[in-house]
């Protein structure tokens, strides 16, 4: 076989590493030298991570209260009972009291949790118009078809913000009161309700339509609020940086949850005396009970929690890491035993060749 470059035939293939399938290559083999250390190292690393995660998760303090108002569970049941139907009575109030024997270390976050609420239902999830929410004037007047039946009001006015998600905006509100000593009056704990949404959502994804004569209300003229809303979108908050489409409660709500049980951030507690956390004492959360959940078997919870480097309390990941890490170690030993057991036999085989 001549493949000298001198006497090349016209049809002679090229002699390159690629065409001759001789590309330099690394041919890794799953040998014991690789597999066993891999498993032992991975196992140890995972156990380490797992322990870290587990302890930081355990270190997180959480207080939660189910205020759905099922009969016999506190004073919210009154409100719940009143709003048996679809429309709850406006402004029904109830409260939740608790006592902290010691400091609840900060920063403390106030969440509300809804369960059995399918924000991830596809029909619900698509019922929004991101063009409208990004402040496009044309989309404001002509909401996308996905918003139906919350696209136009019966009188033909376009609904802004359109769609089922906006229509079902969570509208309970909370305030936190603190009583240092049993005899002291309740002091309102300042709740930081700004910057509870993602920066990108607040600054990019949600934009108000261009102001008309400096007025947001005029910009929204000719649109109707969603049927379930009691006030138009531009009156969600008196703060001009927190109203309209960029109202943070609204933005948080519009970021739909992955699972039917979800928490959403309501407020941060980091101001004044409470920047280090909630000092001990008695607390009362005043709840304006508006949002009906009992019809679909849902629950409403209010949660106070602090966080660690890894976020909120969730023991799952720590435990999972510990389990996987231990399994790795066990597997490593199994493999070691098997390897020792079969190695000799393997060598015998090769001698036969």
């Amino acid at each position: 076989m001549t493949w000298s470059a001198t006497a090349r035939g016209a049809h002679q293939p090229d002699n390159t590493a690629f065409t001759q399938q001789r590309l330099p290559a690394w041919q890794p083999l799953l040998s014991a030298g690789i597999a066993l250390p891999l498993f032992f190292c991975a196992g140890l690393a995972f156990i380490g991570l797992g322990l870290g995660l587990f302890y930081s998760s355990n270190g997180i303090k959480e207080l939660e209260y189910d205020y759905t108002g099922n009969p016999g569970t506190g004073d919210c049941s009154v409100c719940a009972a009143k709003g048996q139907g679809r429309a709850p009575p406006p402004g029904c109030a109830c409260s939740w009291s608790f006592t902290l024997p010691e400091l609840f270390p900060g920063p403390v976050y106030l969440y509300y949790e809804l369960s059995n609420f399918y924000q991830n239902n596809r029909r619900y999830g698509v019922s929004r118009d991101d063009a409208q929410l990004s402040g496009l004037a044309s989309a404001l007047r002509h909401p996308a078809n996905e918003c139906a039946p919350y696209q136009f009001r019966s009188d033909g006015l376009p609904i802004a913000p359109c769609g089922a998600i906006a229509n079902s905006l969570f509208n309970d509100s909370f305030s936190l009161w603190h009583q240092r000593q049993p005899s002291d009056p309740f002091v309102e704990v300042p709740l930081d309700r700004t910057a509870i949404a993602w920066w990108t959502d607040y600054h990019v994804k949600f934009r108000n339509p261009p102001l008309v004569n400096g007025s947001l209300a005029l910009a929204f003229r000719g649109t109707a609020p969603p049927p379930n809303w009691h006030r138009p979108v531009y009156e969600l908050s008196p703060d001009p940086n927190n109203t309209g489409f960029i109202n943070q409660d609204f933005v948080v709500w519009m970021r739909t949850a992955a699972l039917p049980t979800f928490r959403k951030l309501y407020a941060r507690i980091r101001q004044g005396n409470y920047s280090a956390g909630l000092p001990r004492g008695t607390y009362r959360v005043n709840i304006t009970y508006n949002y009906p959940v009992r019809a679909f078997g849902g629950h409403k919870l209010i949660i106070l929690s602090n966080i660690s480097w890894m976020g909120g309390k969730n023991p799952f990941l720590g435990i999972a890491y510990l389990v996987v890490g231990s399994l790795c170690i066990v597997m490593g030993f199994v493999m070691l035993v098997v390897y020792i057991r079969y190695q000799d036999q393997d060598d015998d085989d090769n001698d036969d060749e």
Partner: protein
Amino acid sequence: MSTERDSETTFDEESQPNDEVVPYSDDETEDELEDQGSTVEPEQNRVNREAEKKRETFRKDCTWQVKANDRKFHEQPHFMNTKFFCIKESKYASNAIKTYKYNGFTFLPMNLFEQFKRAANFYFLILLILQAIPQISTLAWYTTLVPLLLVLGITAIKDLVDDVARHKMDKEINNRTCEVIKDGRFKIIKWKDIQVGDVIRLKKNDFIPADILLLSSSEPNSLCYVETAELDGETNLKFKMALEITDQYLQIEDNLATFDGFIECEEPNNRLDKFTGTLFWKNQSFPLDADKILLRGCVIRNTDVCHGLVIFAGADTKIMKNSGKTRFKRTKIDYLMNYMVYTIFIVLILVSAGLAIGHAYWEAQVGNYSWYLYDGENATPSYRGFLNFWGYIIVLNTMVPISLYVSVEVIRLGQSHFINWDLQMYYAEKDTPAKARTTTLNEQLGQIHYIFSDKTGTLTQNIMTFKKCCINGTIYGDHRDASQHSHSKIELVDFSWNTFADGKLAFYDHYLIEQIQSGKEPEVRQFFFLLSICHTVMVDRIDGQINYQAASPDEGALVNAARNFGFAFLARTQNTITVSELGSERTYNVLAILDFNSDRKRMSIIVRTPEGSIRLYCKGADTVIYERLHRMNPTKQETQDALDIFASETLRTLCLCYKEIEEKEFTEWNNKFMAASVASSNRDEALDKVYEEIEKDLILLGATAIEDKLQDGVPETISKLAKADIKIWVLTGDKKETAENIGFACELLTEDTTICYGEDINSLLHTRMENQRNRGGVSAKFAPPVYEPFFPPGENRALIITGSWLNEILLEKKTKRSKILKLKFPRTEEERRMRSQSRRRLEEKKEQRQKNFVDLACECSAVICCRVTPKQKAMVVDLVKRYKKAITLAIGDGANDVNMIKTAHIGVGISGQEGMQAVMSSDYSFAQFRYLQRLLLVHGRWSYIRMCKFLRYFFYKNFAFTLVHFWYSFFNGYSAQTAYEDWFITLYNVLYSSLPVLLMGLLDQDVSDKLSLRFPGLYVVGQRDLLFNYKRFFVSLLHGVLTSMVLFFIPLGAYLQTVGQDGEAPSDYQSFAVTVASALVITVNFQIGLDTSYWTFVNAFSIFGSIALYFGIMFDFHSAGIHVLFPSAFQFTGTASNALRQPYIWLTIILTVAVCLLPVVAIRFLSMTIWPSESDKIQKHRKRLKAEEQWKRRQSVFRRGVSSRRSAYAFSHQRGYADLISSGRSIRKKRSPLDAIIADGTAEYRRTVES
């Protein structure tokens, strides 16, 4: 009942088949055979028959009419056939050929139509339409459209490139030129403008542009030599002869221009050696047959100019009619893959239906009470479930991998290119690289069970060389120099002293030359003189160089050897032969040529020396010669021993002898001979008898030994393939002796092989059939088949069977049966029923026999079928294909192999030879048989492993990807919510996971090519379908399902109640989608990394590149800029940056990937340690093996003792040219008076015509 028995027994109790003859010709079709039968038809059946005749729409008639030099004639309206509604087309095809499929306008619509005919593409088209329905559209329109466009585009580009190549080739052929009479003069026109009825002129070495009737040529009697290599692969020349009348009157241009003959002949058909027609000219009619027809594709040789009339042009020509149907072959994996896609499709429907039911239930339980879900349509839960069924079909459509087919095609294309590029399959001598002519069968090369090989030109080079001889009891030919001392250095004999030597003969025995030159032993010179004079070779001088044209390559080799040894045959006329004897030219009068035929197995020539004595020279097979030797032959025993030695070296032998004849004796004999040669009946037999009288009391001169040269590396290749558990069957048209000889030469047969012949097989099969019948006939069908071997195990057996026996055994006797059935034409309904019943029984019996035969043959380690027709070759291949369900490969070089090449799963053509027919119909072609081992053991094995790995991974990857939606359904009310962003779904199959697996499919090698060849045992994984079968498929699916579970449930656990590091945005849908998608992309890309055993830098680059590409594109699509531009198309703004800055999410991703991959690593490690596969072991010891570079070549353990000798004359295919020589047709009229002897009746005929 009795009638049925009769007919059956008639078949069985036939006389023994004749091993010598090739069974009925392939071209005798059913209806021809029936025609013969109809002559003995009884009168009373005529009525019935007439009725049936009417039903037969097509009768063979001479309805094809051609008028010379009259183009208008063929344009008459009644020659028009209606094609579409009103478009009419002439029934005479133009000579332009068209093999391309599309032109500029039709490409797009036709190509799209072709592509949508494929089930997968059509499926995605349907999906696209479903997605356009708003009620059920669950995915954005682009998720299906983008991949589909990509798939269609790639296929379309491939088709376009193919078609452009076809356009080019057509154009090249159509624009060849040729001389045609136009307006009374020969003018040069292009091939495509030639029409039926044109008179054309062809020169030496021209290709024939159409099927033409030979009118005249520059040779005497208007002979014309053609080379038919293109048609049948035979390189020896064939001669065609024009009619006497056209020869006489149509020699010059003016006459040709006014030629107005009218021809009626059969319609175009594909029978290459049949033609019937009539020429009407000058108020006379002349019959035409195939001897007067030159076929398109042949080449004119040895003839300066010839003229012809175009009868069939273009698509009507026989070569085109033959090349018509190309069978579309698909691989086993293709079929498997299709079934798997159907399986997945069914799974898809079931899963969707289940989820739809779930949705209906959920709606009834939860959805209906969830006020926030109100959508204004008061649809019932079941209707919503129905809509969601379609929704889920769309969401889960990626379970059926859209890019599967196109990726498979890309991989196969790449693998085909690797075959084309392989330097080790490139034959430098003929500058022929290997070529994968079909790009769809590569992985099947790794699954071959049976190889069917042609002999001539495939195993052998079809070159005969003079190797050794035995003269007067002394053997010459082994290496020996003049002084009879062996030297370590082997020197070739120098022939330069001889002006006629062609310098190509390699001979090592210097002593023989010395003998010739010294002339001490007169027998030595006599021996070579005999070789130079006793033959029917024709000589042809080109530029002073002597060129021999022999009827058989053996004879050519002998005459050529004689020439090299100083006895050069120079010229022959009708009755003389001129020979140069060591430089001096002498002319001998030829008194008679006693030609070869297969019964005589010898040929003789009687010459008168210039001195006046008469001698007979004879050469022939040893068996027939020894019977006719004079009792007093001193060297008889020595020669016999020499013959045995030659035979054991697998050389083909011939015995040479001579005798002096008295003048008186000759005249006496000559009278008898003349009488016999003009005998009107049984002339051949009479002649044979006369020959017999003179060929006796011969004096033995010696024996020749010719080597039928095997191609390089054939025995090594065969033994290697045998080690890979591939069975090799040789199918050849040659005689039994040749075939057996070659079997030994290429070590398919060895001394300890027990050879079974047709008779043995037949009796074995008979007893088997009896046993089976006794066991209960039809009811046995339902009993479990008992496997009982025909032979006791442990012995090495070979089967040699001839075509006639094959027919006998397989009850393939058409002629007989059709005759018998015809004679007993059914009269009543009862009889008809009986008839059909008996036919069915016969069918059943035939099937049973075929199955038994195949079982039996497969027990033998080697099978050689000789004297088989092309059709039988195909039949044998088909039998194995059918009853063994094994993958077959046929390899051949000639047109007689085309049938088998097309029938086998894979056809391989030997290219670089003259004939192209086999190559044209093959799937792979290369120049040497030995490349087969590389094609199968290296390319085939790699392709198979790559394809299997690819498919397994592909199904896994798509299941892992798609089923996350399924698990997510349980948490979103079965609402067909996707678990990923739409853009991710769009690009996953196209960008994020396609390149690494494609590269693995192209480049992966578990062991190197050298090791693959060294350990042929590695090949069996493909034969046994070990790497990809239903079990493996389901394991892959299960792996995918488990991966998807991990991919969903670990993030689910992590998301159950989490909040971010900054307390924000705890567990939103978009972050979840990004988490799962990131884990998925990393997992599947690492998984392919685990699967890749050959990491080149491109692999590494593609794997990490895919992951990087994923993150890059995701961050782009989630960026603020793109949302501002397209707010509704890109809704995931900021998700990537917000989610992926959380360590918590990264920890989730890491855990998910680890849980997906670590078990795989563990299982692989354990299975490799506990049950290592062959390739694992070899990989493990790669380094050590590399060190022992050299491997022992298989020792040729081959010594044959006394065995049957093999006579070269038994190998000759056909009669010599003796008739032609003695009739003087081929020899120019420049010589002696016509008083010479007349050897044949034809010469007489010629004289009468001339007078």
